[in-house]
């Protein structure tokens, strides 16, 4: 679920609620597009405990069924950044989400 609010200073606040079920994000596509300069808040919940790593911005959170987690940042680097689950054993793990920050 995505909500967007525009503050008085013109900065957009994007709040996205994401729940991971069986290793995939339910309900939204695999790419989240925001504009450079947006304030972004990703609220994670998951059916299994895991660590999520937003590359590039380099934010890591621990999420579990009991404890949701929040990634909150200003999207000031343009590009396409994967959010990867870590700590589920070895091997190639696909990102659960891509964050695209457009100029």
């Amino acid at each position: 679920m995505l909500t967007t609010a525009v503050a008085a200073d013109g900065v957009r606040h994007k709040v996205l609620t994401l729940s991971i079920v069986k290793g995939a994000v339910a309900g939204v596509g695999d790419t989240l597009r925001v504009q450079q300069g947006d304030d972004v808040e990703l609220r994670w919940s998951s059916d299994k405990p895991m660590e999520l790593h937003l590359h590039g911005y380099d934010i890591e959170v621990k999420v579990s069924p009991q404890a949701p987690a929040v990634m909150s940042f200003k999207a000031n680097i343009p590009g396409r950044f994967p959010v990867e689950p870590h700590g589920q054993g070895l091997g190639h793990h696909r990102p659960v989400l891509y964050l695209e920050v457009h100029p």
Partner: protein, 504 residues
């Protein structure tokens, strides 16, 4: 793995920093480029097609082939003569050898975190991307700095001094039939390591591979002689040499005709014109370069991900993959290795087919004599292969341009702390990589411009190659149609890959 307190504190949500990222399962130096917008991709592709015709129209006048191109000997300038003396060359070589040794030492005794150890950045960013850029855009840097060649040359000098002038080589005559095939195999192995190998960012593994390749190279030099091995077996001298043919500066070694040697300034791509067909093994090498450069980007497209998914979904394939995984082969890497080989084979087949069609097409339009009875498809292939190089160079530049500018910044902290031991020699150890250095607009427009320019140079070179092969202007124009179609397809493929979102 030793995490220094510095690394640990970076982990807490430092924005615009890559330094703390842990060893991830995939490649070193991630690219975060936004895909080209659809309209830009389409504009680039249609400009390519239009310019192909424009370039051809400009050539609609009678001319003869000549391998001569305008060049300016830079040694006529005093400052260049002053700079390009033997002492400068020796100093640069010494520095390169020291850097090589530092890199190997870092791999063996340094911190094994890929971001804290010099070797990963040195090999994958500075050397493989950076040296390639210099070779393609300026001149053959690798011939100057190649540490394997320098170290062996030093050993030769020492041995000659001790043994009253004997040569440090068994002096075995290099078999002609073997051509550059050893380099082809080495390059295939290298491409696999670069694109698929799981331990490519583990410093000790990378260091061991580097030492292994060094021994292999010195053995080759010892058996066949240094010069001979550099042109037949040292894959990197050949691959950087191919890129350097595109470069505007040409180094001519001293010989009887030019006792002083020359440093020539020439148009981009002029070095890719040849006065005779290249050898078959060299042709295979160039095709392999083209294929791996493209596969690098293709690997990250959603299409490749669909191939992976399809492989997993097919019962027979997944059973086989599962059986292989029991033997310790990672399913993902098996699929990608197969795809790499398929890609390389496809490039060979398509290029050879286009060469064959060129012959049949030309003979069909102009009669058998026009095409020349002694011409075969492989002669055509070996005459045209280098004309494809500018397209690959352009794609390589666009693909790696932003990576070089972002991951390249790792050399700043690593200069202060090459072993990852928490040193701070120059006070730069805490430098944070700035990912916002390259605006997506610069990347987008830069990439499309470079690719279109590369295509135009390729079309020009293909026309020169056709003139040489088929003699008259009219025959050259007719004969070129199949190659031009292939070039448009290859350029469009490059643009298409850049327009795909990076996944996996």
């Amino acid at each position: 793995m030793r995490a220094t307190p510095r690394v640990a504190c970076c982990l807490v949500g430092t924005i615009a920093s890559l330094t703390a990222a842990r060893a991830s399962a995939h490649g070193f130096g991630q690219r975060f480029d936004l895909p080209l917008p659809l309209w830009l991709w389409l504009t680039g592709a249609s400009t390519t097609i239009v310019l192909t015709f424009v370039v051809m129209a400009l050539f609609v006048k009678e001319r003869r082939f000549t391998a001569q191109y305008p060049r300016l000997d830079l040694l006529r300038f005093r400052i260049v003569r002053w700079a390009a003396n033997a002492k400068t060359v020796a100093t640069i070589r010494l520095l390169a050898v020291l850097l090589f040794m530092l890199t190997v030492c870092a791999a063996l005794i340094g911190n094994q975190n890929p971001y804290s150890n010099l070797i990963t950045t040195m090999v994958w960013v500075v050397w493989w991307v950076g040296v390639a850029f210099v070779c393609a855009l300026i001149g053959d840097l690798w011939t100057l700095v190649n540490p394997w060649s320098t170290l062996f040359a030093w050993a030769e000098a020492v041995y000659a001094a001790l043994s009253k002038g004997r040569r440090l080589s068994l002096g075995v005559k290099y078999p002609t039939w073997l051509g550059a095939w050893p380099a082809v195999l080495v390059f295939l192995g290298f491409a696999w390591a670069e694109l698929i190998w799981g331990n490519k960012d583990v410093p000790s593994q990378l260091g061991a591979t580097l030492i292994g390749y060094s021994i292999f190279t010195w053995l080759g030099m010892f058996v066949f002689g240094r010069e001979s091995w550099l042109v037949h077996g040292e894959a990197f001298s050949i691959s950087f040499g191919v890129l350097a043919r595109f470069a505007p500066i040409e180094f001519v070694a001293p010989s009887e005709q030019v006792p002083r040697g020359q440093i020539n300034f020439r148009p981009f791509g002029a070095g890719l014109m040849t006065s005779r067909p290249v050898r078959l093994s060299f042709m295979a090498f160039v095709i392999l370069m083209l294929a791996t450069v493209t596969f690098d980007g293709f690997q990250e497209t959603p299409l490749m991900q669909q191939v992976d998914t399809a492989a997993q979904a097919s019962h027979a394939v997944s059973t086989l993959l599962f059986a292989l995984s029991e033997w310790g082969f990672d399913e993902f890497r098996v699929t990608h290795t197969v795809m790499l080989v398929v890609f390389a084979m496809a490039f060979v087949v398509v290029f050879w087919l286009t060469s064959w069609i060129t012959l049949r097409w030309t003979a069909g339009w102009l009669g058998k004599q026009a095409a020349g009875t002694e011409l075969t498809a492989s002669v055509v292939a070996c005459s045209f292969v280098l004309t494809m190089v500018p397209i690959a160079v352009a794609y390589h530049l666009s693909h790696y341009f932003s990576l070089l500018l972002t991951a390249g910044q790792f050399v700043i902290p690593l200069a202060s702390d090459p072993f990852g031991w928490g040193w701070n020699l120059f006070g730069t150890a805490d430098y944070k990589v700035n990912l916002a250095l390259v605006s997506p607009y610069v990347f987008w427009y830069g990439a499309v411009t470079i690719i279109v320019v590369g295509h135009v140079i390729a079309v020009y070179l293909a026309h020169m190659a056709a003139l040489r092969l088929f003699g008259s202007h009219r025959r050259a124009l007719v004969s070129q149609v199949p190659m031009l179609l292939l070039m448009v397809a290859y350029t469009s493929l490059s643009l298409w890959i850049l327009a795909q979102p990076i996944v996996g």
